[in-house]
């Protein structure tokens, strides 16, 4: 099978082009010579199946960053039949160096000058025919976003693939002296083929940035935008999530339940409350992830994410994080899972890991449900909002404390040098692609883990068969009793300990599990809860619920995104330790004060 490698600098629209070329038929895979996974897709070109690989965006073939090394090692071990180099036409004067560097490798190569539409608007004219002749490499102007010039390029790619691949020279890396030769070549070709106005016109980006990055207005605008995004995800996401839950409930009542009703009761329970509920849990995340990435695509593709990084960096740098971490932390208040997936925009691994360690402390909407129920049951209507607000403060405090404590173990050695792209309108197609891609990856990677976890908790709370489900006689109950010496100092009763075990799966089912444990629901459950525990115990329980592991889906995502089981365990252990410590300090402190 012929192989095409997609190469280019960051911010050239390389991934947009990749998506356009492969549609949704892409997959993540491993390649010889490199340790990171790359996205690739197979397409039909001129009656032949061709594989396209999206390589990381790089600035320099001779550079030493992780991405640059990945590209070099990939090319070394997997010489492509065609290297498709994507350049940003608006930055042609500095991106041309990559082409000249690549040219020395003797690769079968073709150049796509992307964002031709934007270059035209800026008054940059490029003579593609002359440049083709000057470089000795076919050059095409196109707009991957709108598809202009795309058919011509595709035709040329098909043609180029018919040539035989010349061998890739063993010595890929040339010495730094060669860069001077490249510089001279660049000047010569640019002088002959490209005209750039001396000073770029005072365009929309400059004018917008004057407001968006304003010394005083910048931050309030940023928080306003974040608030709106958060509200929008809530506004659209919650009804969708409720809808998905209802759909699965309805399916269970009308189809799955009757289908299984001949099975023994225990097996029926395992299938319905274990496996089926696990699948429903996975499904409930789908609308949130789609929405989140739809909105993230807007923030990222418009170029606002880099601006948010500019605005928030001063504060976050002191915590060993950067501006982008803060955006993800805020998004975590909606749902931790997509926020963790969103950390992929960061290049530095240690920065990503530290952000991923911090995000699970964001008080997500599922935890909010638990807190609303308990505060309503145990606090006066006047005190309840204050209690909720204090929990939000604890959420931020836990995140900041964690970042400060662990920043030296995740030293961010990647210098913060980011390109600030001009504002752009994202296309609907780009946004939908992004949402679909992320959901697909979530389903592919996390679903088995979540279903297995839900089944495990079902078994714990239903075995041995003689015990009443979720009672003290079940394995979960025994575990709760066994853990009692650990939870007594923080004021959490054995009944509530079982609820915490449920909460490990998902916070959405904590109240439901309390209903099963007490055999009551709604108002009656509130009443029973108020009789069983006092407000100090309830607040300690809420603190613990806030800080410890948010849910199985978060753990599954954490493990997949970090590609490290050890890191996922570390996150679980640290959050449990911090949860216990904070609850202990609160509970014992309140008791000492006589409450």
């Amino acid at each position: 099978m012929k192989r095409i490698a997609l190469l280019g600098m960051p911010n050239t629209g390389k991934s947009t082009l990749f998506n356009r070329l492969t549609g949704s038929a892409s997959r993540v895979g491993n390649w010889p010579g490199i340790t990171v996974e790359l996205l690739s897709g197979k397409i039909l070109l001129g009656g032949e199946i061709v594989e396209i690989i999206d390589l990381p965006g790089i600035y320099d073939m001779h550079g030493f960053s992780e991405d640059e090394q990945v590209v070099r090692h990939f090319l070394h071990e997997n010489v492509p039949d065609l290297a498709l180099v994507v350049l940003n036409a608006t930055q042609i004067e500095r991106q041309l160096s990559l082409i000249l560097q690549l040219k020395t490798f003797n690769l079968n190569m073709m150049v796509l000058l992307n964002m031709a539409d934007e270059a035209k608007k800026l008054g940059i004219t490029i003579d593609a025919a002359k440049m083709t002749a000057s470089l000795g490499i076919p050059i095409f102007l196109l707009s991957a976003k709108y598809g202009n010039g795309y058919p011509e390029a595709l035709q040329a790619i098909t043609k180029a693939l018919r040539f035989n691949t010349p061998g890739m020279p063993e010595t890929v890396r040339s010495q730094l002296e060669q860069d001077e030769h490249i510089e001279r070549e660049m000047t010569r070709i640019l002088q002959q083929t490209v005209q750039i106005p001396a000073r770029l016109s005072d365009n929309l980006t400059t004018r917008l940035d004057r407001i968006m990055l304003h010394p005083w207005l910048g931050l309030p605008i940023f928080f306003g935008i974040m608030y709106l995004l958060f509200q929008a995800i809530f506004l659209f996401g919650q009804p969708l999530q409720v809808g998905v839950n209802e759909l699965f409930g309805w399916l269970r009542e009308t189809a799955i339940g009757p289908l299984l009703h001949n099975l023994p009761a225990a097996l029926q329970g395992l299938m319905l409350d274990g496996v089926y509920n696990g699948i429903a849990t996975v499904a409930a995340f789908v609308p949130l992830i789609v929405l989140f990435f739809l909105f993230m695509a807007i923030v990222e593709d418009t170029g606002y994410l880099s601006r948010a990084a500019f605005l928030m960096d001063a504060l976050m740098a002191r915590m060993g994080l950067d501006g982008r971490s803060f955006v993800m932390l805020l998004m975590g208040f909606g749902c931790n899972v997509p926020a963790l997936m969103g950390t992929r925009v960061m290049r530095s691994r240690s920065l990503r890991l530290l952000s991923m360690l911090v995000i699970p402390f964001s008080l997500c909407s599922a935890r909010l449900q638990v807190f609303v129920f308990i505060t309503a049951a145990l606090f006066s209507p006047k005190a309840a909002p204050l209690v909720l607000f204090s929990l939000y403060l604890f959420s931020f405090a836990a995140a900041i404390l964690t970042a400060l404590l662990f920043k030296r173990y995740y030293p961010n050695n990647e210098p913060f040098v980011l390109e600030l792209p001009p504002y752009r309108f994202p296309t609907i197609r780009q946004m939908l692609m992004r949402g679909w891609h992320e959901v697909f990856q979530f389903l592919q990677r996390a679903s088995k883990f979540i279903v297995a976890g839900v089944v495990l908790v079902w078994l714990l709370t239903n075995l041995p068969p003689s015990a009443r489900p979720a009672s003290a006689d079940t394995w979960a109950g025994i575990l709760g009793t066994w853990l009692h010496p650990l939870f007594a100092p923080v004021g959490i009763t054995p009944d509530l300990t079982i609820a915490l075990i449920f909460g490990f799966v998902a916070k959405e089912i904590v109240i439901g599990s309390l209903a099963v444990i007490y055999g009551l629901s709604g108002q009656a459950l509130s009443g029973a809860l108020a009789q069983q525990v006092d407000w100090v115990q309830a607040y300690s329980f809420m603190l613990f619920t806030l800080i410890y592991t948010p849910c199985l889906s978060t753990i599954a995502t954490l493990r997949n995104e970090s590609n490290s089981t050890g890191f996922a365990w570390f996150s679980i252990v640290w959050s449990l330790a911090l949860a216990w410590l904070l609850s202990f300090m609160f509970y014992q402190g309140a008791r000492a004060l006589g409450y």
Binding site: F64, R94, L98, F310, D313, L315, F416, L420, P421
Partner: protein
């Protein structure tokens, strides 16, 4: 890259918004140096400081047609001449 530092040279971080200067030398480690070179940072090139973020946050600079954000720590390693 070590050009003679004349009296009028200073670090990029001490420039004021709106000022245009010429890069004199870059004193970062190799990896960042490579990246800066690829982004268009070279001795003799013109650089404009667009703005600085509040609370000693990052700087926005412009080289040619490209806008770049960098932290103060990195900008302190780039010498310029107004």
């Amino acid at each position: 890259m070590n050009a003679n530092l004349s009296d009028s040279s200073m670090t990029l971080s001490s420039m004021n918004p709106g000022e245009i200067a010429t890069i004199v030398s870059i004193h970062t480690d190799d990896a960042l140096h490579q990246r800066l070179l690829a982004m268009g940072f070279r001795a003799g090139k013109q650089i404009e400081l667009i703005r600085k973020a509040r609370f000693s946050g990052p700087l926005q600079v412009r080289i040619g047609t490209t806008d770049i954000l960098m932290r103060k720590a990195e900008a302190e390693k780039i010498m310029v001449q107004v």
